[in-house]
């Protein structure tokens, strides 16, 4: 399990009738490996024009003049539109909460007069080619009445702070206390030990390697605006587009092509995709916008800038008695659609107790607005942060109580399921204790504890850190409704259709952007129908093919989309059996699906290939049973029951600190994960490794900073340090499997777990290495400067 060596790809189908559990080769690979993928910038339409944006160069203030005269005169420029020219509705995300808890803010597609961050779009320029459009953007003249910028949460919350939005007092967009156990102060007062952690994480960019982009064109024949855009949420883009343009949704078709990653940045609606579509309508020409990297780093959605002031009470044996957390998330200039600026603080508040039995819990979560690029969900959403805080609390308690850091976790993790926590969430079965024990055993068996001691004698500084965590995957409508969203994601729809030759098309409202849905959904449906996986094709990313869907985020695709596809396949299977029994002239209960045919249970030699049944269903309807409609199409929706399902994992990290440079080197990375039934083990491991790499990136490297005027300091990859193969270690992955009873396939989501566990594990390992210094770090990224300063404080 330690390498990516080719996995067993033999289908178990022949043996036991299922493709689930085999590392079937990816359906996506042949085209992506040969340069035949179709990404948004690969699309070219006749008469296509190119768009870019005039963007604010100041973080706060009022535009006193937006002069596009020279822009419009620039050779090659076709048009330039300001907010007034396009007159579009705003993008607004709303939570149904009292004004004291949530303030809705409108994000105009193009800023009207007020600007709130450097990079905010003011005008869209359209030209004949992508070079001329840059000339046109440069020719724009904008004058500002600059105002003082609010660039940190502290500044935002200060008494005399300027207001980023006039309707948001204290620059606070959300201020909610979801839980406050009665008598919690008495618990703290009476507790044997109370530990306190103030932790923070820096602003990050989810950083899909493909930047955002769109090609929009009006189609006269379909009377539709065709919007090809790289989005994780095609239907949400359609809904917002229709609202902003004041049109029926029927007249907007959103198509998502191959996507070069998203990681959350593309699961909200971007103002640029709306503006480009509006420009295409206005000009009656196709318009393409491809975000450049500078804009992607400074003006796209960011995430993760959070700070925690957290206390935990423990008894003398190290059992946690209470948790009290004050969470402040710096969400930047606007609420994102559909989640709103509440996304980060509400996620943290709802889930923070995690894998631990916490009897009393009080939390206050705030979203503050600042003059920085707005935030969107990023892989893991707050969980990398609150897990880091929980793990820091347990590490600190273990030190103060003289307990082994793994032992204190053992005493506190949930071991009986279902378990309803103090956060009113019911956890389905997982392997919290088992993963912790196995992970520790692996570290011990490899001799790292001894090695650490031996090398310490030689002056080398090693540290070992753990992180035990869970992750709710596949949030149901109920879960999002609890957050008081007025647009409530949760369910998804799927259609499974057999064509007259026996081939299968599956549709899903989820949206692959690297997760291998084309492969795993085919495995799921092929297993249900007993058909060769090669005959099943998934279609996603077209709002005309699925009536509605919620796209891909929050590890929801296999749990929700996969379950909908399973149910639809079952319905189609039932119809195949019904027709098959009729044609075989046997009892309905005497047939089964097997290897691409309906066969008789009592005589396996009597069978009808699906192609023959499909032929009857479409071309010989006269032969169908009297009660059966022609065609072979089945649909289903799925919305998880209860509180959804929780995947879990324990990570262990061994680091070495290098005095002189302060560099943190990861010597060993182990992951023991449980995502229920693995549809495709190799793909699961890929999600784990990639997630861990992004978690390490957040732990050690990535940081979007601003100067005191709100000018972003990271406009290129020179300033924003994305780790390479030289920094990211190999990861050894071990699987535990607790089949999920809440999803059709038994699978839990796996897209985000790696990212969630890595920051805490790395931070704990660094702190373990720093133990002789007495210094404990509580902020990410852990920079070499911080480590070096700590090492210099060695006694």
């Amino acid at each position: 399990m330690s390498t990516t060596a080719p996995h067993h790809t033999e289908p178990r189908f022949d043996r036991d009738g299922t493709w689930v559990g085999a590392s079937v080769r990816r359906r996506e690979d042949p085209r992506l490996l040969t340069g035949r993928g179709r990404f948004v910038d690969d699309i070219a339409l006749p008469r296509m024009a190119h768009a870019q944006f005039v963007r604010s160069t100041v973080a706060a203030g009022t535009v006193t003049e937006l002069d596009l005269t020279a822009t419009r005169r620039t050779p090659g420029v076709i048009a330039a539109f300001s907010a007034v020219d396009l007159d579009l509705g705003d993008i607004t995300a709303i939570l149904e909460r009292p004004a004291a808890e949530f303030v809705p803010t409108d994000m105009p597609v193009l800023a009207r007069d007020r600007v709130r961050f450097v990079g905010e779009p003011l005008a869209i320029v359209i030209a004949e080619d992508p070079y001329a459009v840059e000339d046109g953007v440069e020719a724009a003249r904008v004058t500002y009445d600059t105002a003082p910028a609010v660039v940190s949460a502290d500044q935002a919350l200060a008494d005399s702070a300027p207001l980023v939005h006039d309707n948001a007092p204290n620059n606070t967009l959300l201020d909610v206390s979801l839980f406050a156990t009665e008598g919690i102060d008495d618990v703290f007062a009476a507790a044997d030990h109370v530990v306190h952690v103030e932790a923070s994480s820096s602003r990050q960019n989810a950083l899909p390697l493909e930047t955002r982009g769109v090609v929009a064109a009006w189609d006269d024949r379909d009377e539709q605006l065709m919007v090809q855009t790289c989005t994780q949420v095609p239907h949400q883009v359609r809904t917002v587009l229709a609202r902003c343009l004041g049109r029926d949704e029927r007249t907007v078709r959103v198509l998502a092509p191959d996507m070069g990653g998203g990681f959350g940045q593309k699961c909200v609606v971007g103002r640029e995709e709306i503006a480009a579509a509006a420009a295409a309508l206005r000009l009656e020409r196709p318009v393409k916008w491809i975000e450049d990297r500078r804009d992607a780093l400074s003006a796209a959605f960011l995430a993760r800038e959070q700070r925690y002031d957290a206390r935990a009470a423990f008894d003398a044996e190290g059992h946690i008695l209470a948790l009290d957390a004050d969470i402040v998330c710096d969400m930047g200039a606007y609420s994102c659609y559909p989640f709103s600026a509440g996304i980060e603080p509400l996620m943290a508040s709802a889930e923070m107790p995690g894998v631990y039995r916490v009897p009393a819990y009080r939390v206050r979560g705030r979203a503050v607005t600042t003059n920085k690029a707005p935030s969107a969900p990023y892989r893991g959403v707050s969980r990398p942060q609150y897990v880091m805080v929980m793990e820091r609390l347990f590490e600190r308690a273990s030190r103060e109580l003289g307990l082994d850091p793994v032992e204190i976790r053992r005493r506190n993790v949930i071991t009986t399921f279902p378990y309803t926590g103090v956060n009113a969430v019911t956890y389905d079965p997982g392997t919290y204790l088992e993963s912790l024990n196995l992970c520790e055993q692996l570290v011990r068996d490899e001799g790292w504890y001894e090695r650490k001691e031996q090398l310490a004698d030689a002056g080398r500084i090693l540290g070992i850190g753990y992180c035990c965590f869970n992750e709710r995957t596949g949030y149901a409508s109920d879960a999002f409704a609890k957050r008081k969203m007025t647009v409530v994601p949760g369910f998804d729809l799927s259609q499974v259709r057999m064509d007259p030759s026996g081939g299968i098309v599956v549709t899903s409202g989820t949206m692959n952007h690297g997760q291998s849905h084309e492969t795993t959904f085919a495995q799921i449906v092929a297993s249900r129908l007993g058909i060769d996986v090669a005959r099943v094709k998934l279609q996603q990313g077209d709002t005309d093919r699925v009536s509605y869907g919620w796209g891909t985020f929050a590890s929801r695709s296999v749990t929700i989309g996969g379950s909908a596809a399973s149910l639809a396949a079952d319905r189609l299977g039932a119809k195949l059996l019904h027709i098959g029994a009729h044609l075989l002239e046997t009892q309905p209960d005497n047939v089964e699906l097997h290897n691409g045919a309906v066969r008789q249970r009592d005589d396996h030699s009597r069978k009808l290939p699906f192609s023959e049944i499909a032929t009857v269903a479409y071309l010989r309807a006269d032969l169908l049973p009297k009660d059966t409609e022609p065609g072979l199409t089945a649909e289903a929706s799925f919305d998880p029951a209860g509180d959804g399902t929780f995947a879990n994992a324990t990570h262990a990290v061994v680091v070495e600190l290098h005095p002189g440079t302060g560099q943190v080197e990861i010597l060993r990375y182990l992951c023991v994960e449980d995502c229920g039934v693995t549809i495709n083990p190799q793909i699961v491991e890929g999600q784990c490794r990639g997630g861990i790499a992004q978690g390490i990136a957040g732990a050690l490297f990535e940081q979007i900073t601003y100067d005191s005027n709100g000018e972003p300091s990271c406009a290129s990859f020179i300033d924003y340090k994305v780790p390479t193969a030289a920094e990211i270690p190999d990861v050894e992955i071990h699987h535990l499997e607790t089949p999920c009873t809440l999803t059709e396939s038994g699978a839990k989501g796996v897209g985000e777990g790696g990212t969630i566990g890595a920051p805490a594990a790395v931070l704990n390992a660094v702190n373990d290495a720093l133990r002789p210094t007495g210094i404990e770090l509580d902020a990410t990224p852990i920079t070499p400067q911080t480590v070096q300063r700590a090492l210099e404080a060695r006694p």
């Binding site: 690979d29 042949p30 040969t34 035949r36 990297r293 490899e446 090398l455 291998s516 010597l667 190999d730």
Partner: protein
């Protein structure tokens, strides 16, 4: 408007006459004039490597060259490798090791690796890792890419042909790739090929 230049680009063995502005980048000419869209653009400042192609056999960033600079050079893009029906050995290794997820960086890594392995057929796994660190991937965590390239290199060395006769030193390198610093810290179960970060 800037002056137009009539140039001939030799891409994947074919000559193409193009009229381009002086400022047109090579990657734009390849993608949008020749419609070879397998080469991708990730940063336009030479860091991410998504646009990596081979110029006279060596990996180069197509976003950092102007099309007019590429006249007379032998340019190879991902489209010169195998087809979906008949991928080449490196493409097969990428698929077998799950060395791609979204696939956006993949053509760049493939061309980087093709160029590197041609120059260094006996590269050790840690040398491959160092070479692969020239490009960014946001999905895989790099391990599968390193292992795919290493796997392909090993198989190429085993295949009949001039590359199949490594020197004794090089052969030893491939089986014991541990660097001295790493070997000291590793108790024997870790991944000995991970180099220290610079």
């Amino acid at each position: 408007m800037s002056e137009q230049h009539l140039i001939t680009l030799t891409v994947n063995g074919h000559d193409h006459e193009l009229l381009v502005a002086a400022r047109r980048t090579l990657v734009d000419a390849i993608r949008h004039d020749l419609r070879l869209t397998g080469t991708h653009v990730g940063c336009e400042h030479g860091v991410c490597g998504a646009c990596t192609i081979l110029v006279d056999g060596a990996p180069a960033r197509a976003c950092l060259m102007f099309a007019v600079q590429a006249e007379g050079r032998d340019i190879r893009t991902v489209e010169s490798l195998g087809s979906p029906e008949a991928p080449n050995d490196l493409q097969r290794a990428f698929s077998e090791h799950h060395a791609l997820q979204c696939g956006f960086c993949t053509p760049g890594f493939l061309m980087l690796a093709e160029g590197f392995l041609t120059e260094h057929p006996h590269a050790t796994k840690s040398e491959i890792r160092a070479a692969v660190s020239a490009n960014l991937c946001r999905c895989t965590g790099y391990q599968p890419i390193v292992e795919a390239v290493d796997d392909c290199a090993r198989k190429r060395r085993c295949a009949p042909g001039p590359a199949a006769a490594p020197s004794a030193t090089q052969a030893a390198d491939t089986t014991t790739p541990a660097g001295p610093a790493r070997a000291a810290a590793d108790p024997g179960h870790g991944q000995p090929d991970t180099p220290r970060s610079p």
